[in-house]
């Protein structure tokens, strides 16, 4: 059966040449590196957003998260062609007979279900998420995180199972090259050029969402980093968040409360009268786009000092936002006291646009965009 299928699959001139162990090994290694990169950067992002007690995310270097999250999304996109090419190369093995010969073989093949299903699931849900498309009944972050662990666990099993085969497939053959082996190598190189070329094309047409010089090439990216009010995109608009009235209310007050000596209640005018600080900081959206702006506003650490908070105080920033997640974000002690963690009133010399968080938004170094809370009304110190 395998022979029939293999004969049907390959190019007529060379029935099984491209369904080779060597190509499977090369693509497998590339895909393994891509998946592990996505996993590490993804777990990092997850820990930053939901930090367990033992995890303290640094506020420096300021652009670190921008790099790791851009890498996460770009690598995930680039792995799509690698994944499907790899699956095509090994597809004839699906029809191997007998399907397994012993317990180890059964376990190895069973692990392919979570590996392949999980791999496709991860690239699909990731792609849909950057497009803000949610055609499923579960929570994106919960399942993207959980299935990542399942897929990587299956990948570890797979690496162990294919260790010997891969080493052999990549070793130099003992016999001197013949015209046939050279022809095969040439075919292999052309095939791999096509596959890696597809990865390159996908990257070329999407990475401009975070690499500014390539912005005009970002034909397949759902965002352009310079398109939006004040020259950068918006993830959640004021209308979506339900703050159109609240944010423009003349009775707006900003308060600092919680574990403080002197609770503060400030009007917009009073905030503007406080010492202002400027910083150039990126917004890195978890969905892959990023942009960098010059922000101006009040340092969080100055407010903490004014309110008489402890030197190692932490704080929660609370939004006016009525709808949607991410209406608060936590500042750990490093972020709360970083000299560039601001409650910004202005961007690039103008008061914030309503969609960018007017009257007041959090902007700090080395944070995911969803934790740069907009329409801030309270700082709760703990």
């Amino acid at each position: 059966m395998t022979e029939v299928v293999q004969r049907a699959l390959g190019p007529a001139a060379s029935p099984s040449r491209l369904h080779s162990e060597r190509i499977a090994a090369i693509l497998g290694i590339a895909l393994g590196i891509a998946f592990i990169t996505c996993f590490v950067t993804g777990v990092e992002s997850h820990l930053i957003q939901d930090p367990p007690g033992w995890f303290l995310w640094t506020s420096r270097p300021a652009g670190l998260y921008r790099v790791t999250q851009s890498v996460h999304v770009a690598t995930g996109l680039a792995s799509i062609p690698l994944l499907f090419a790899k699956l095509w190369v090994v597809y004839p093995k699906l029809f191997e007979w007998p399907p397994f010969t012993n317990v180890a073989h059964f376990l190895e093949r069973a692990s392919l279900v979570p590996l392949i299903g999980g791999g496709i699931f991860e690239v699909f849900t990731g792609l849909a998420n950057i497009n803000q498309w949610y055609p499923w009944p579960f929570n994106f972050r919960t399942v993207h995180f959980a299935v990542a662990w399942i897929t990587i666990g299956a990948l570890i099993v797979h690496i162990g199972a294919k260790w010997a085969v891969t080493r052999r497939a990549l070793s130099r053959p003992d016999e001197p090259p013949t015209p046939e082996s050279k022809e095969e190598a040439l075919d292999r190189r052309r095939f791999l050029l096509g596959v890696f070329g597809a990865s390159g094309v996908v990257t070329l047409f999407t990475v401009g969402q975070t690499v500014r010089p390539l912005e005009r090439l970002a034909l397949l990216a759902p965002r352009r980093p310079s398109v939006g009010p004040q020259g950068f995109p918006v993830n959640r608009s004021a209308a979506e968040a339900g703050v159109l009235e609240l944010a423009r209310d003349p009775g707006y007050r900003f308060t600092v409360e919680g574990k403080v000596g002197r609770p503060l209640e400030l009007t917009l005018g009073q905030l503007r009268a406080l010492p202002q600080h400027e910083a150039t900081l990126p917004i890195q959206c978890v969905e892959g786009w990023s942009t960098s702006q010059r922000w101006r506003g009040v340092r969080v650490r100055d407010l903490l000092e004014m309110a008489g908070a402890d030197d190692d105080a932490r704080a929660q920033v609370v939004s006016l936002q009525r709808r949607g997640a991410f209406d608060t974000s936590d500042l750990n002690r490093w972020h709360a006291h970083d000299r560039d963690t601001l409650l910004a009133l202005e961007v690039d010399g103008e008061p914030l646009h309503l969609d960018h968080g007017f009257p007041l938004r959090l902007i700090g170094p080395n944070r995911p965009g969803v934790m740069q809370t907009k329409w801030v009304t309270r700082l709760v110190v703990s």
Binding site: T2, N131, A148, V165, P177, V201, L219, S237
Partner: protein, 367 residues
């Protein structure tokens, strides 16, 4: 190499170590979903993950393979790899652009989401992909041309003459008919040579006088004396450079076949090409450099000629690429089989005429 027909169970400590390390990692993921049943929806999630696997194995992969068999495998050599890459990349580009194209995330209150006209954007991206495919193909054609321009393509033939051409076809052929069949085979071969996608010169290594059947741009190289081996050696010496010489008894030869022969010889590391025939001879031989020794001690017109020739090439240390095996025309049964392989050729018409006259039933082309 392929593992065709071989089923391998994993073994070694690496497998068990991978299992020991991987299972807890998977268990953590499963535990995470089960620990967040409201957000994770374990049953739905399992359906999606297993469904993704099934969707690939039952739909995506078979469709990809079908396109491979129906389209890619039928393309000639130089264009196959670029088009395969182009089709694959197009599918990926379309899939990546699909959510934007459909505007699933479009949001009236947030025009920064999906700021482009994605029909134009995806079409532009696909256009770029196919421009790259075209460039790749052009480079492939150009490099092939460059490496094959110096390779001459020649046929070694007798000018057809009743009573001396293809006499083994008689009976059922009359001597005139046999000569007609021989002339048809030669004309088919010459016209395939003339239109083959190779850039080098063409020549006919002739015994006898050239007739009107010889296209104008073919050089004529007279055959020398001696047996076939001597005459081949002489032909290569006269052609004085890399050359592929074919026989005239395989009118089913195609331009693509000749192209791949010339291309193989033009490739660095290949010193010779050889195309064997079903009856033990060979229909084509190509040498990078003329070398009289190639034909020394190789018995011609015997059932071992092909094998002996191949062994001789190996003995001389010449890296030899084998061309596809063909059936050559020796007897009238061969002629009928070969005519079926090239049903629209002059040769098929000539054979058909004899078969009709003598009442010989046309048989299947497969031996």
């Amino acid at each position: 190499m392929s593992t065709r027909g071989e089923v391998r169970a994993p073994s070694g400590w690496q497998f068990w170590a991978g299992l020991a390390a991987g299972i807890p990692v998977m268990a953590f993921g499963v535990g995470w979903v089960l620990g967040h049943p409201g957000r994770g929806k374990p049953v739905e999630l399992a359906k999606w993950v297993v469904g993704a696997d099934l969707l690939h194995d039952a739909v995506l992969a078979p469709v990809a393979c079908l396109v491979g068999v129906l389209v890619v495998a039928r393309l000639p050599g130089t264009v196959r790899a670029p088009v395969r890459a182009g089709l694959f990349t197009s599918a990926i580009v379309f899939a990546v652009g699909y959510p934007a194209l459909r505007g699933f995330g479009r949001n009236p209150t947030n025009p920064t989401e999906l700021p482009l006209d994605y029909a134009t954007a995806v079409a532009t991206a696909l256009g770029v992909v196919w421009v790259l495919v075209g460039l790749w193909w052009a480079v492939a054609v150009w490099t092939t041309r460059r490496s094959t321009r110096s390779v001459a393509l020649a046929v070694i033939a007798k000018a057809p003459r009743p009573g001396s051409s293809k006499t083994r076809l008689c009976p059922p052929c009359t001597p005139d008919e046999a000569a007609g069949v021989a002339q048809a085979a030669l004309e088919d071969t010459l016209s395939v040579m003339a239109t083959a996608p190779v850039a080098g010169s063409r020549a006919a290594v002739l015994e006898g006088e050239p007739g009107s059947w010889l296209p104008d741009d073919f050089a004529v190289v007279p055959q020398g004396a001696g047996d076939l081996g001597d005459r081949l050696a002489g032909a290569f010496a006269a052609l004085d450079g890399p050359a592929v010489v074919i026989a005239m008894d395989t009118p089913q030869v195609t331009g693509e076949l000749l192209g791949s022969a010339v291309e193989a010889l033009g490739r660095p590391g290949t010193d010779a090409v050889l195309g064997l025939t079903d009856d033990g001879g060979y229909w084509a031989i190509g040498l990078r450099r003329p070398d009289r020794r190639v034909f020394e001690g190789v018995p011609m017109s015997s059932p071992d000629t092909g094998a002996a020739q191949l062994e001789r090439l190996h003995d001389l240390g010449l890296a030899t690429a084998l061309l596809p095996r063909l059936r050559d025309v020796d007897t009238f049964a061969d002629a009928i089989a070969v005519a079926a392989e090239a049903p629209r050729s002059r040769f098929a018409t000539a054979v058909e005429r004899v078969a009709a006259r003598t009442g010989t039933r046309k048989r299947s082309g497969r031996a």
